[in-house]
Subunit: 210 residues, 2 copies
């Protein structure tokens, strides 16, 4: 129906497994494109320009801000991070659904700027399960886990601002659910105005006995 | 996630095949219940009370109106037709998604009374295809077909009031799409307030180091 792709904003608690979910979604279906952020932080080993991030100098980044080339941006510990508009818009024009994984503050800014964006918050089946997943990694101290849970509690107040929540219980089921969800959103009447107008125009011609 | 079922209102142009689509949906999946209307018209041969319709006397029907037992009602050619509340609410409480097939005026009344109802308008892939399907039946005169197309044109102005449109092209694909669509709606944050509140409460307890 709608030829243009959607902008899909995904957030979720740390440890909920949204990174894996997104990776699986994109490798399983070919109608998605992952938005790549721009940053002024230095590339880490193994990172490639244009894959993990677009690496920019401070001057280049501030030029992008000035020329309104970013959907949103923020700075953390002395570095800028932002979402370049051009790639997102190009992909949407080509009919790809663009997936943008971003934390709650960034998601809020995107929704203000692109009200048609679809926002999904990934949740664990229960708080206990999230705690178990964080402990299960075995790499974090109790203090770090408690801090993450406290952060999750804070972020949980943003859940209601999202269009959808998606429970990440079983990975392959969640990938399927995320795909169904995004494809269903394409059926929303707000994304199909052109199709409906064409249908109505043709019906008019036929009903006039043409 | 949400334990309660949804009320799903389905409309569509005459000849678009929504009856078959609904029948397949309900026989393929067991989480749906079809709403049965009440009417004062006489039962036709083969019709069963409680299956095609709840058959009521004029007095009984007007008693239902008086006691606010109907989600909506209308009268056509001297008979009342309406949607009894009780069955719909019972099934929703049991977690069933209740499917209500109704024309555009009735759908509008339902949406006013039950704003959480999900509304879907079934469309053909094109106006030409709808015309071909009406001609293909081979049972109608040109005048009847033209009248139906004129009616479709009139009804097409209601499409934008629906939440979703669903293109009925290939039957089995459309059944699958309708099912995905309805199940995705369950992920909408407005239907998951209780789940989110519980999750938040548990996170609070855990983040306090419990």
């Amino acid at each position: 129906m709608s030829d243009k792709g959607l902008l899909v904003v995904i957030s979720g608690f740390s440890g909920v497994g949204k990174g894996t979910l997104m990776k699986e979604l994109i490798s399983k279906y070919n109608n998605y494109a992952l938005s790549v952020s721009a940053t002024t932080r230095a590339p880490r080993e193994g990172e490639e320009n244009g894959r993990e991030y677009y690496f920019k100098s401070k001057e280049e980044f501030e030029e992008m801000i000035k020329n309104d080339r970013l959907l949103e941006y923020a700075s953390y510990v002395g570095n800028y991070y932002g979402t370049p508009k051009m790639y997102v818009e190009d992909m949407m024009e080509k009919g790809k659904d663009v997936i943008l994984e971003i934390e709650v503050q960034g998601a809020k800014k995107i929704k203000e700027k692109v009200p048609d964006a679809v926002t999904v918050f990934v949740v664990p089946p229960s708080a206990e399960e999230l705690k178990n997943r964080l402990i299960g990694r075995g790499t974090e101290t109790k203090e770090v886990i408690d801090a993450r849970l406290a952060r999750a509690y804070e972020e949980s107040f943003a859940m209601e601002d999202y269009d959808y929540i998606l429970v990440n219980d079983n990975l392959s089921e969640s990938v399927q659910s995320m795909h169904s969800l995004i494809q269903s959103v394409h059926c929303n009447t707000i994304y199909n105005k052109k199709f409906m107008n064409n249908l109505r125009e043709d019906m008019k011609r036929f009903s006039e006995g043409e």
